[in-house]
Homo-oligomer: 394 residues x 2
């Protein structure tokens, strides 16, 4: 691969134009790399920063062909992308797709994903395939009650995952028992994660970070994780093994459990990941710049931390959907060392990811310097924000 | 001022869409702030990242009115903006202009600028107003030969500044002697600068940095400047005094001379400045984010350094203008801890600013940690780049 920069930079065609596409556009611009995004929502979050948006469904062949026509490489920021269509359109247009459609196919089915990892000796929680009540009873007998049940396909941000102790509970949550993956409910010390990156003949991983989830949605990330060096080293080793199991360049979000000093792989996202947002301010190279570099076959940047960092999500604290209007910005930005990332979504919904805040040290005399103190500062910023009724403002 | 974030962020209307506008758009996007830029060059550098470009001359009243119609605040990224027109259009549309048109007017005339500083007791080199040969002879007798002659208006990137020792030399460079400012040629230890920022009832300054110019064009910045604490403190004090002399919010690039431990003000730019590009990676808040915050009346961010940083410009190393095509990107990006900023200009010209490179530390074991070593790394990256003939690539 040789990249030549000119007035119109190399162009990434991206399936999906949500916040990940937006932050990818922000990170690609300094490199002279432009984005065209495909998204069904007119004026999607990535649109104001991207060169262009093609409005269309993720599985709209014509729209995907139009995207490929304008792209030097195709990638995706959502697992809902259609791997078969991506493969066909990429091949027909002679445009590479990264990560590979095969990897996307593997990851879209959580059972296939987990089997692929287990086959390579990568540590995962004990798991069973479940398609009916008898399967589930057997799984619960083997794995203990409750166990974690996951819809094999279509889940995201915790939707589709639930701990269940009985057939009745599983039926209530999932509606039916076909197509489930059931895993041991891991009694972890910490939920941690690593952003791995597969480049052109090189691979690397950012340091392991610590995540807090509530109701299966990421709330906070502390970088680095407050664990010991052996666990750090092991998490990196496992992350690099995961990269070896994946085909195609790009960034992978690798969610892990730390239990008794051991590391287990929970789930993999073949794209930049919420638990890597801290890298924008917290690492020498952000996960988004890494993704752009990797997909284009450029050399990877340094994955070193610049210092302790804390990230706190801004979720939709509303009871029902309404037009997004965020107040309290002055209060949030008056917290020193805090950066605001607002995703520009048109509607706020309960627990929807609307933005995030990152806190970094600002010098010894001025404030907090470890990741726990930084989290307090980011939380203070978050607590200053409030969703208003847009009508009241007019 | 109260800012509410929604799907369409607050919009900055920016006169000029060059690299400063581009980097302003990159920094404003995470805040949920959108840019519309006014620039005569179709698809100007800021266009791919901004919400929109209005194609028009900087002094096109209709275009400026269209810009004001879409903006919550007006600002400019070039001194060539027309202060009278900005004032009229801003007043008519009820849209604030920052920095104030009055400040722009003062700064556009280097004599008026220098007089305004001197009147407030801010240290500047000895200077004389020159409009004819007799004035110049008297100035050279007083200030010494050679002295630094500057066209009062219209100069940029060193064009319009020249050391002259005689009337004949001045006539050769400037064509005529009317409208010059002539200053003592300062025998400085270092050229240093400070990015100052005037917010809504608050002001601050980034640490003093050290600059290297050649042929009056900035080549390199080292952050922090390799000087002593007394000079650092004095530079900050002078910068804050300069902010007090300016009207209107925003970022100011303040170029200084360090001579015998004293600080003299050379020139002021009422906008983000090339010597502040290091802040993107090197400071907690970049000068571009500060400018967006300041113009909108949001709280300022921290001006603390994140660590030593070096910035090296990528200038047009060509003999004559031609379509821009930059090769060697792989080599540049393989230097660890180096970030590339490509401005996306369509034509490369001799010594034109085409991009810049910034080097930051990547951890103790991996490489350089002081600003001089970091400069070597940034220079290595620069030396890997080359302007190619676009034709050859096809």
């Amino acid at each position: 691969v040789t990249v030549t920069l000119s007035a119109d930079g190399p162009t990434l065609g991206v399936v999906g134009g949500g916040q990940l596409g937006r932050m990818l556009a922000e990170a690609a611009a300094p490199l002279g790399v432009e984005l065209v995004v495909l998204d069904p929502t007119p004026d999607c979050p990535a649109a104001p920063v991207a060169r262009d948006q093609i409005v269309g469904d993720f599985d709209d062949r014509g729209a995907l062909e139009a995207l490929a026509d304008r792209a030097d490489a195709l990638t995706f920021e959502i697992e809902l992308a259609d791997p078969d269509l991506l493969e066909q359109v990429g091949d027909a247009a002679g445009v590479p797709v990264h990560p590979s459609p095969e990897t996307l196919r593997t990851i879209q089915d959580k059972l296939v994903q987990t089997e692929a990892l287990a086959e390579r000796g990568i540590p995962v929680p004990d798991f069973r395939r479940v398609d009916d009540a008898a399967d589930l009873e057997a799984a619960l007998d083997d794995l203990g009650r409750p166990a974690m049940a996951k819809a094999r396909t279509g889940g995201y941000d915790g939707r589709g995952n639930a701990p269940v102790a009985s057939v009745a509970e599983a039926e209530e949550y999932f509606g039916r028992l076909e197509g489930l993956l059931v895993e041991t409910l891991v009694d972890f010390e910490r939920e941690v994660s690593v952003i791995g990156v597969q480049g052109d003949g090189e691979r690397d991983a950012f340091p392991v970070v610590e995540n807090v989830h509530e109701a299966e949605i990421l709330r906070e990330t502390l970088a680095p994780a407050r664990t010991d060096d052996a666990v750090r080293a092991r998490a990196r080793e496992v992350a690099l093994d995961v990269l070896d199991a994946m085909d195609g360049r790009g960034v992978y979000g690798i969610e892990l459990f730390e239990r008794d000093g051991e590391i287990l792989v929970n789930e993999i996202a073949p794209r930049p990941h919420n638990s890597g947002h801290y890298t924008i301010e917290g690492a020498v190279t952000s996960q988004f710049e890494q993704h752009a570099r990797a997909v284009l076959g450029l050399p990877l940047g340094s994955t070193a931390l610049r210092g302790p960092t804390a990230m706190v999500n801004v979720l939709g604290t509303v009871e029902s959907p309404r037009p997004a209007a965020l107040g309290g910005v002055e209060g949030a930005l008056s917290e020193r060392g805090v950066s605001l990332h607002w995703y520009g979504k048109d509607e706020v919904r309960p627990l929807r990811k609307m933005g995030h805040l990152t806190a970094v040290p600002t010098g010894a005399e001025e404030g907090p310097t470890d990741q726990t103190e930084l989290r307090s500062r980011a939380r203070d910023a978050r607590d200053a924000l409030r969703f208003e009724f847009a009508e009241e403002e007019r």
